[in-house]
Point group: C2
């Protein structure tokens, strides 16, 4: 395999040589934002949404990206063309940059990295994920900051409990998994997902559109841990994995995933939605 | 001035060339811990305490430092000798390291940086600092993580209010400033400082010893925002600045600093304490 190229500190370079000066606020003060998107058959999925969110995150954290959306798209397209990966993940990282006093933002630094990533497989549906609950809420929850202290720290605990991921809750509200949004389907068949203290996921957004187009009742509101126990189905969404059924939260077991469940129907509809996006984007590129 | 040397990724190198690969968890996931100490007349102040806290932080965050206290002390002494700085700050940084999956800790990376820093001047006593309150509590508060998202983000707000720093409080308890501990002296002359949701500062620890040796009543306990308003004197402590009187918190004004205040007496006693530490350490080094 040929060497992967990335974009770092205003230049294209081999990924292996890309490094950030040790005085960057991203390292010294954990000050940074990012976004992550999946490339499928060479197409950057839901690119506009990811770029919008990246720009929003930068603005919220008072970081000047130094590149507008058109320029970012061009960098991403260049990496896709140069690296020739059909299935990959692209990470756009903006850190606080070198700081003379180790505290004040001066010139933020942009890095864009592409790495190979297998497309999510249908096998993830069975048995799906077991989650454990943990009392936590991300600071600046609506912003995709690089703050994953709690998530990374909890990893050994997640593995030791035989779980796959953690679900944050606080003050009687469930919010999100560290890298996914959570949804429940209630007895009446409504699709419900928390509306606050969450990162507004792109797969979440796209799935809500799909569900609405299917005529489902969609509710974005507070979910308590108690209500979650009454759910008929639970699943999580992420750009990396699409939809993953949840078969257990702590000791509570949900019915096993079946293809004719609401989750199954949404999964297939989302696959179709993704396919249409790719076709449209390819048509656009060819025109 | 000759080029400064630092220690990064297991080697001494010019500070200007020190960089961390872009896939380090310290950058991608804000996952890192550090410590910071002041060098005065070539002596690393309260080095044992700082190394103890660094090792504690690393253990708490499940990071293997890869170097024990003796080895860290040797690196620090080498930097002090090589760089020949009489007054400086030393930053010991341990980040999560390169991660193949961008999430799991594999091999943490140590960097030790020395940079010139003027010794704190008596001028800081007058008028001292104005603080603004902000509702926040650091996650992993007892650990010196690199998470300063809120602190860096608040900087423009602090400056716009004509303040010098921010004081965190939550759920009826004041805790700390982002880089300092807070103390109050009450009407009865007792020295009071919060005991929880704080980073246990080294200057805080040393000052409590000094105050006890002076026969002062010392209380480590919850302070409410209401009690703080009744304080006769308020000051903050940090390794960089020693003691700084606080003359205002939000709109509340405290009496101006005078040399015969409790804060003044503690300041002079701490200066003496620091001097004795330096002399003892020099004697030790010569023997």
């Amino acid at each position: 395999m040929s060497e992967l190229i990335c974009f770092c500190r205003n230049a294209y370079m081999p990924l292996q040589t890309a490094a950030i000066p040790v005085n960057d606020l991203g390292l010294q003060r954990g000050y940074g934002i990012f976004d992550f998107l999946r490339v499928s058959d060479g197409v950057p999925l839901f690119l506009e949404d990811h770029l919008d969110r990246f720009i929003f995150s930068a603005e919220q954290m008072r970081l000047s990206a130094g590149y507008n959306k058109q320029e970012l798209e061009k960098i991403i397209q260049t990496l896709i063309q140069q690296n020739g990966l059909q299935h990959a993940g692209i990470r756009i990282l903006l850190t606080g940059g070198p700081s003379p006093d180790g505290y004040t933002i001066s010139a933020p630094v942009l890095s864009v990295i592409e790495q190979p990533m297998a497309p999510p497989a249908d096998e993830i549906l069975k048995p799906g994920f077991r989650l454990i609950m943990h009392p936590h809420r991300r600071q600046f929850a609506a912003v995709k900051t690089t703050d994953y202290l709690m998530a990374v720290w909890l990893q050994p605990q997640v593995k030791a409990s035989g779980a796959d991921d953690v679900l944050y809750h606080l003050e009687g509200q469930i919010s999100e998994c560290p890298r996914s949004n959570i949804f429940m389907v209630n007895e009446a068949g409504a699709l419900i997902t928390p509306h606050q203290h969450i990162l507004p996921g792109i797969t979440r957004k796209q799935l809500l559109q799909v569900a609405q187009a299917m005529g489902m009742t969609v509710e974005q509101r507070i979910i308590t841990p108690e209500e979650l126990l009454t759910a008929k189905e639970v699943f999580i969404t992420s750009s990396t994995k699409r939809l993953i059924p949840v078969y257990a939260i702590d000791e509570h077991l949900y019915a096993s995933y079946t293809d004719d469940s609401v989750t199954g129907k949404l999964y297939r509809a989302f696959m179709e939605h993704e396919k249409i996006y790719k076709e449209q984007r390819k048509l656009l590129a060819d025109s």
